[in-house]
Symmetry: none
Subunit: 189 residues, 4 copies
Amino acid sequence: MNSKQEKIFTAAIEKFSQKGSTNTTMQEIAETAGVGKGTLYRYFKNKEDLIFSLIKYGIDEMASKVKEAVENVQDPVKKLEIVIEVQLEFYNQYRGFCKFLTREIWGPQSKFEEHIKEIRTNNTVIIEDIISQGIEEGKLKGINAELGAVSLSGMINITALHWFMFHESFPVEKIKENLISLYFDGIII
Amino acid sequence: MNSKQEKIFTAAIEKFSQKGSTNTTMQEIAETAGVGKGTLYRYFKNKEDLIFSLIKYGIDEMASKVKEAVENVQDPVKKLEIVIEVQLEFYNQYRGFCKFLTREIWGPQSKFEEHIKEIRTNNTVIIEDIISQGIEEGKLKGINAELGAVSLSGMINITALHWFMFHESFPVEKIKENLISLYFDGIII
Amino acid sequence: MNSKQEKIFTAAIEKFSQKGSTNTTMQEIAETAGVGKGTLYRYFKNKEDLIFSLIKYGIDEMASKVKEAVENVQDPVKKLEIVIEVQLEFYNQYRGFCKFLTREIWGPQSKFEEHIKEIRTNNTVIIEDIISQGIEEGKLKGINAELGAVSLSGMINITALHWFMFHESFPVEKIKENLISLYFDGIII
Amino acid sequence: MNSKQEKIFTAAIEKFSQKGSTNTTMQEIAETAGVGKGTLYRYFKNKEDLIFSLIKYGIDEMASKVKEAVENVQDPVKKLEIVIEVQLEFYNQYRGFCKFLTREIWGPQSKFEEHIKEIRTNNTVIIEDIISQGIEEGKLKGINAELGAVSLSGMINITALHWFMFHESFPVEKIKENLISLYFDGIII
DNA sequence: AATGAATGAGACTTCATTCAT
DNA sequence: CATGAATGAAGTCTCATTCAT
């Protein structure tokens, strides 16, 4: 990735996570990134494009990390455990992005609703497929796979966000254990 | 509640849920409510106050419905079932509010962060208390009660929102069953 | 006409005639008119709308003055004389508008080209009709009426503009005589 | 003339005639000319200089064509006929320049007002001198020579522009005949 | 010499808020 | 009390110009 674009991305996430995308001005992003205001518009068509690119970049990044981690694992139960672990780690490492993402993904997407749907789907579908596989193999309960995937997504996302906002520390290991216990002892037959 | 204030609330939720609070102008709210722009400022100090009042009103409303429904029930397991049911029903009935709330509650609270924390806590604490009670009574697993509460909250909220946005219908009964199955068979010993 | 709109019109013509519409900022117009910047946008959708409204208003004004002056005259030659006189007087009285109009009417109309054509036509057609009438009555030479109308329009407009820019005074009477002599002794049989 | 400068001139006229000089960016001109943006600044001090150079180049070109064509002619009436013919031909051949010129020459000259005056004068004075000569020789009416020159200029310019904008074809011969008839039978004793 | 990435002044426009009616 | 015309701070975006390569 281009180094200047990277600086802009980093600056944007920092600001967006602190103040929300709507309350952050392009001016602020430029200053934080250490570039001129006009430079932002060389790399992104407009503010909306910058936001959308960030969402896409972040989700794709997370999704690919999850895919990679799960690739050579066969057991769907083990796979789900890895999903939880990787996502928690990702959120922990990129807390700003986590905050930013949660807001934007449920926001009024107006212009790029379709893209957001697609992006969001890409992420959820990974989990959904694992659950479907697990159900077929008789290792997981026969619940609605989509609902199972969305629920897990929501649990992880909201819990992480809650901890970032209400607690000083984020004990990934402890939270992971709890979430797995909570989600597994129900879903495993 | 004053009738004019109610009209404003209704109009605001309608607009906020469609376009987000930042993309909604006071003008639009006034027009939708059928009152003059200046009138909004008789009932609310400013836009921020209107947003905050809405959040508070909505959450308090939901919390009081939950409290009321749970009041005379002893069994914590039954209580949790009721929580899920009541919240799903509430979101279903006030879909606009559900969308609005999810965005705002995780948004950049800037000015009234403390109030939001308090409000959000009020809601989560109900669930947390039920879980604590259940653990003491030996009916629920000994997980971290706060995490259990936040997880449930997230599951319900995100799942509801997902269904509103990706599916035509919202089969409350079916979703309730699935969520209960998912959450219960794990948390119940 | 609304008094504030009139103030804006006057201010806009003053500025536009001095610096051209593109080099005049909405800020300047607001200041000159003694109103707030936002007020401009209560009366006009945007800058383009303001420019277009001015053109339309001015041309309609001039056309209606011409029509009125010519109404009860029968002789087409006398009519043409009146046209020249009225237009010169109009340009003389509203020099700023004359400058502004000449630039805009031949400018890159982009968005409202069709409207401009219509407006410009409305004005030229009055002269064209008089010429056609004169030809039918055998009092004017059988030249192309449209060309005759456009030529006269151009002569008047460019001559007026030239005098405003290169001479201190604008001797309407003298110029009128010269133009009539020039245009008449050719067109009259 | 340098070949790269010529490419820039051609590109600039094309764009200016289409969108007006203010609505054309240096970027666009560079792209159309097939050179880098920075190169424009090797050949012209800035955008204003480019515009001014174009005006000067075009008018000088036209004026020299007129001068050349008129050089060995004695009769002032014949001279005027040639002026009309040459200018119409010139406009017809360089329609884009005709549009561009008409706008700019009457535009808000701000920075180079004096130069424009000089340039414009150069052109008008040729006609003015012919008229003066004709008056002295007793072949033309004793009207104000400057007004006669400006009027003819205006007639030709505006008529040409009108035909470019409102009609598909530009029948030079027909228009020439009409203009000569119109202008001559009045100005010739 | 030629290029085009980078810059930032400045333009247009929106909208929360005020206040005279 | 209610209204909506008026305001101007502030935001997004454009584009002439510079300068390192």
